[in-house]
């Protein structure tokens, strides 16, 4: 890639630019700032779209009373039961159990606080399903076409 071909499309790096290796006019490699590259953006968008679709599906099931709000908070943070169990210091089957509304309503205050701390919310917020909420850490500055 030549220096003048280093893409400056919309970027994934937000306020920062990434750096790319490219050839200058003498054929030497130099580091060139790059705002972003559209094919990488498309691939990144796809990853976020599939996360959003997953979160949306789970949000609906929570509203329908099939799953507990824990399932929603988990999906919103791109976690599966195994990963959340790792953070909470529980077994996977325990997290799976807490994804059921009845079992989740009965968890102890201490455990509710532990879950809430992982998601950085209050135990009160943990027990509720928020109205509308984008996935955590969502795409930020990316401009959609």
């Amino acid at each position: 890639m030549r220096k003048k071909d280093v893409p400056q499309d919309r970027g994934l790096f937000g306020e920062w630019k990434e750096v790319s290796y490219a050839l200058d006019d003498d054929g030497r490699y130099v580091l060139v700032p790059s705002a972003g590259w559209e094919p990488a953006n498309i691939a990144n968008d796809m990853a976020w779209e599939s996360i959003e679709a997953e979160v949306g599906k789970i949000a609906e099931r929570v509203r329908a009373g099939e799953l507990s709000p824990l399932a929603y908070h988990m999906a919103r943070h791109q976690m599966d039961p195994g990963l959340l169990a790792g953070y909470a210091g529980l077994f996977r089957w325990q997290v799976r159990r807490h994804m059921k509304p009845a079992a989740f309503r009965r968890i102890s205050t201490a455990l509710a606080e532990r879950y809430a701390a992982i998601f950085r919310i209050t135990p009160g917020e943990l027990m509720e399903m928020p109205e509308c909420d984008p996935p955590a850490g969502a795409r930020g500055p990316v401009i959609r076409e």
Binding site: Y21, I42, A47
Partner: protein, 341 residues
């Protein structure tokens, strides 16, 4: 803060951390040299290892390899520490910083508040250098970010003790016994030969050039095996692994081409300049794959974008790389610096 810490932005976190740490300790080294001497170039496709339900494709060596290899080849000692206890892990970091030592750390990226939001996935093999403490915050030289940034202690602790695949367990590393002068010639030769060996002579079909060919076959079979929708998801994932997280495009091929240019001077082998040019062309061809693949993902395929055409590009990359590594290996065996030991 360790005032003299030379923060330089890099295309890749691990080679950037290695180069910046070595430079700080009096062995000035570019990122490309660190990547090359650390034998960072690699390829593997593991359909049975799933990340987010998608098969793992990697264009680089395993996390931690670059730093270990570059240190070993230059005769530098790296001390690695990991921790069960989070408080102990933070206390050790403070102790090292108080002694004026810049400390490398492996972290997850999900909890790093300064990290670009679009790239915040649960990826746990990110590398950065902690180079100071200011109040309750740490000064961090993250090589993929333009300038050193501040990060709160609670956030850094979370990132260091992230859970899940490749969990860092608070891993810290720092350099000791850095020699005053090193001879880069044997280090460079050995490093190049290792890449050639890994890419062409591992008798396992998912690694190196054979792995690239295997990926080509998979790409072809995805639409009939998985259906159009999942096939596109798989394709998008390969493109992400190739082009995202600052690989400088072409899955590290451009960084390696930059290394070969520097190696040409170190080894006084003009032929390496020509091989570097060919590596650049290969990187460009990997980018052609990303462009055509992204068009397909976007639902706007050009005239001949389809899965067989994509597979063809991947196969062409494999052929070109195979030829290149064989020549490179022969050159290292028989060239000017082929001192047999």
């Amino acid at each position: 803060m360790i005032p003299s810490f030379p923060h330089r932005q890099s295309a890749h976190c691990e080679s950037g951390v290695a180069a910046n740490l070595l430079t700080h300790h009096g062995l000035p080294l570019s990122e490309a040299m660190a990547f090359g001497i650390g034998s960072g170039l690699f390829f593997a496709y593991f359909p049975f290892i799933r990340i987010n339900h998608l098969p793992l494709t990697t264009f680089r060596s395993a996390p931690g390899r670059i730093i270990r290899q570059v240190a070993k080849r230059l005769g530098v000692r790296v001390t690695f520490r990991s921790f069960r206890n989070e408080e102990a892990g933070m206390a050790e970091l403070d102790r090292l910083l108080a002694g004026g030592v810049p400390v490398g750390a492996q972290t997850g990226v999900y909890w790093l508040p300064y990290f670009p939001p679009a790239l915040r996935f649960h990826f746990n093999a990110h590398n950065l250098v902690v180079c100071g403490k200011e109040g309750d915050s740490y000064r961090i030289s993250d090589p993929v970010i333009g300038e050193p940034v501040l990060c709160g202690a609670a956030d850094l602790k979370r990132a260091r003790f992230a859970r899940g695949p490749l969990a860092p367990n608070g891993k810290l590393f720092f350099l000791t016994n850095v020699p005053k002068k090193v001879d880069p010639v044997p280090a460079t030769r050995e490093a190049i030969r290792e890449v050639c060996r890994l890419m062409t002579r591992i008798p396992f079909p998912l690694i190196g050039v054979r792995g690239i060919r295997y990926l080509a076959g998979q790409v072809e079979s995805w639409p009939s095996r998985l259906g159009e929708r999942r096939a596109l998801l798989y394709l998008g994932n390969v493109i992400r692994m190739q082009e995202e997280v600052g690989t400088g495009g072409g899955g590290f091929r451009f960084i390696y081409a930059a290394f070969l240019q520097e190696a040409a001077e170190v080894l006084e082998e003009g032929v390496l300049l020509d091989i570097s040019r060919r590596m650049t062309a290969i990187g460009d061809h990997w980018r052609d794959f990303a462009v055509a693949g992204a068009r397909l993902c976007k639902g706007r395929p050009g005239g001949n974008d389809d899965f067989p055409a994509l597979a063809r590009i991947v196969r062409e990359c494999a052929d070109a790389e195979h030829g290149l590594y064989r020549e490179l290996d022969a050159l290292m065996r028989n060239g000017r610096h082929a001192v047999r030991r």
